[in-house]
Symmetry: C2
Subunit: 330 residues, 2 copies
């Protein structure tokens, strides 16, 4: 199959490009490189450097490259920034996705796999969270993802567009060979922050709340390795192409979580450089536990994550950060 | 005050323009006339014929006319069509509103009154429906309204944009003098359909379900007269301008409803031409009762609807349709 990967030069996109190639598929990447990195793409993968906000460019790319399916990662992803600059987020994430959807139904009506997020659930007491939990995103970022989910579903109902929506929990790790990994303009992810702190780029690790109702008092999150997540996309594309699925929404997580302290302990062990830690007050909107009910994707798409050992997960992140302390920009 | 009324040439918009003028305000209308009628505007009201999908036109209009607040009605409003052509609805209603919001915060940061709908609640068992009921729109139309509500709120949080959102129940009636009224490309509203049937333009009135758990077996809806609704907008604009309100969402309805049979009986009485009626099966998604809990707008904005008598409501609609059997196109 030939896949167009929109946002394919980003963190999850570039790992998915690799896994798609590894599974024998052909790939073309569409990315505006606003936060992605051309260096993250394997040699020989065509890159269309263009923007979803340019509807003509999207249509031309689909007509020129004639993909069999589209995998759509392109989005602005910073929760805090989304609250300060909502117009940018609604326009990039919602209008951009609308342009893509419209171009797809107007040209090839091929299946779509879309990157969504556990942020669509908002704060919830459900542990673990099933896909049919109430959807109450608490940030503009989460809202733009939910709006796009709803648009995709409406295009399915109106035009028969086949789709899979994947709702990611805490994505982490990197390709074990250390060649590609996480490199966002702003760092907000725990394992990445811890690795950069171990490298001396930051003074200490803040622990926001140690008085949660969890075994060690710190928050528990469901950490899913980026390569496992990438494989979920391969499974989704293949299920759509094989007609096994025509409209499905799946959580992607391990189905169990690790606490902040467990993660920091693992980073200490892997790096051999114990982190300075500081306990700070809880942050508003941080629920004690966010864990996926991941049964559906296991049962329906045969998802079988390989990275379930926390130290192994951290090791892959460390391989990347240790060898690329400043990311792709060396 | 000077108000820019976006979509001011439409059914509700044009009645609101009248009430705003009557309350001593100045008005400029922004409308693309895709479904509005320039004839619905009083002489002397400036009309900017332009589209919300043209961001430069929106900004220019705000800069040229320097309004103190914006009242935003512009939208595609047909539920059935929205399911068949979602892209058109998302683009017109959501992207159009985003352009308007962005133009407002980039130019004058003036208050906004937005037309929303009871369709944001979807099917619900709550009778009456309070504003904090769960929001589960069941059509693309309802979704576009909810998305716009969320965007407006995000602009309030990020940029301090003051707003009032009004969620309409079943709008009906016309200016009692018979000079303006309802004239949509497709007719779907009960009282309008009944009047046109009484005029012989349709053969009969279908009653979809007479076995609902209501006193006479037919569905009950909350009918709010278009002039009362227009007054709600005047109250909202004045509350925002006076600093009495900076972010509020209100149902607009009478707080009690009439059944389909009650409405048809009233039309028979007013017109003196008994309608042919036919009982048909229930339509999917039609709940037995949809009635507003309208306490909030009564208490907070002093809303006091004058048209509470069903025959009087129907009489105003009949005055319009009888004298304009083909709407504005004579």
């Amino acid at each position: 199959m030939k896949l167009m990967v929109v946002g394919g030069a980003g963190y999850i996109g570039s790992h998915t490009v690799r896994q798609l190639l590894g599974a024998g598929h052909e790939v073309v990447v569409f990315d505006n490189l606003s936060s992605g990195h051309a260096q993250a793409l394997p040699a020989g993968v065509p890159l269309v450097q263009a923007d979803l906000l340019d509807p003509a460019a999207v249509k031309t790319a689909l007509e020129t490259h004639q993909p069999d399916a589209v995998v759509h990662f392109a989005a602005l992803i910073e929760v805090g920034e989304s609250m300060r600059a909502p117009a940018r987020y609604y326009r990039n994430n919602v209008v951009g996705s609308l342009n893509l959807l419209q171009a797809i139904v107007e040209t090839r009506k091929i299946p779509l796999v879309f990157s969504s997020t556990a942020a669509v659930y908002g704060t919830t007491d459900a542990v673990p969270i099933p896909e049919d939990a109430p959807l109450h995103p608490e940030s503009v970022y989460g809202e733009t993802k939910l709006m796009t989910e709803r648009m995709i579903h409406a295009f399915h109902v109106a035009h028969g567009l086949p789709y899979v929506i994947l709702r990611y929990f805490n994505v982490c790790g990197a390709a074990p060979d250390g060649t590609i990994g996480e490199d966002h303009p702003n760092k907000t992810h725990l394992i990445e922050l811890a690795c950069l702190t171990a490298l001396g780029q930051r003074e200490k690790m803040m622990i926001f709340g140690d008085d949660y109702p969890t075994p060690d008092g710190t928050c528990i999150r469901d950490y899913i390795h980026v390569l496992d997540l990438a494989d979920a996309h391969v499974l989704a594309v293949e299920a759509l192409a094989g007609g096994k699925q025509d409209a499905g929404t799946y959580n992607v997580g391990l189905g169990h979580g690790f606490s902040v302290l467990q993660v920091l302990d693992a980073v200490d062990e892997v790096t051999g450089r114990p982190l300075n830690r500081e306990i700070a007050p809880r942050r508003p909107g941080d629920p004690p536990r966010l864990v996926a009910d991941a049964h559906r994707i296991v049962e329906e798409l045969g998802f079988a994550p390989r990275f379930t050992d926390l130290k192994e997960i951290v090791q892959t992140a460390w391989n990347w950060h240790r060898t690329h302390p400043h990311g792709f920009e060396e």
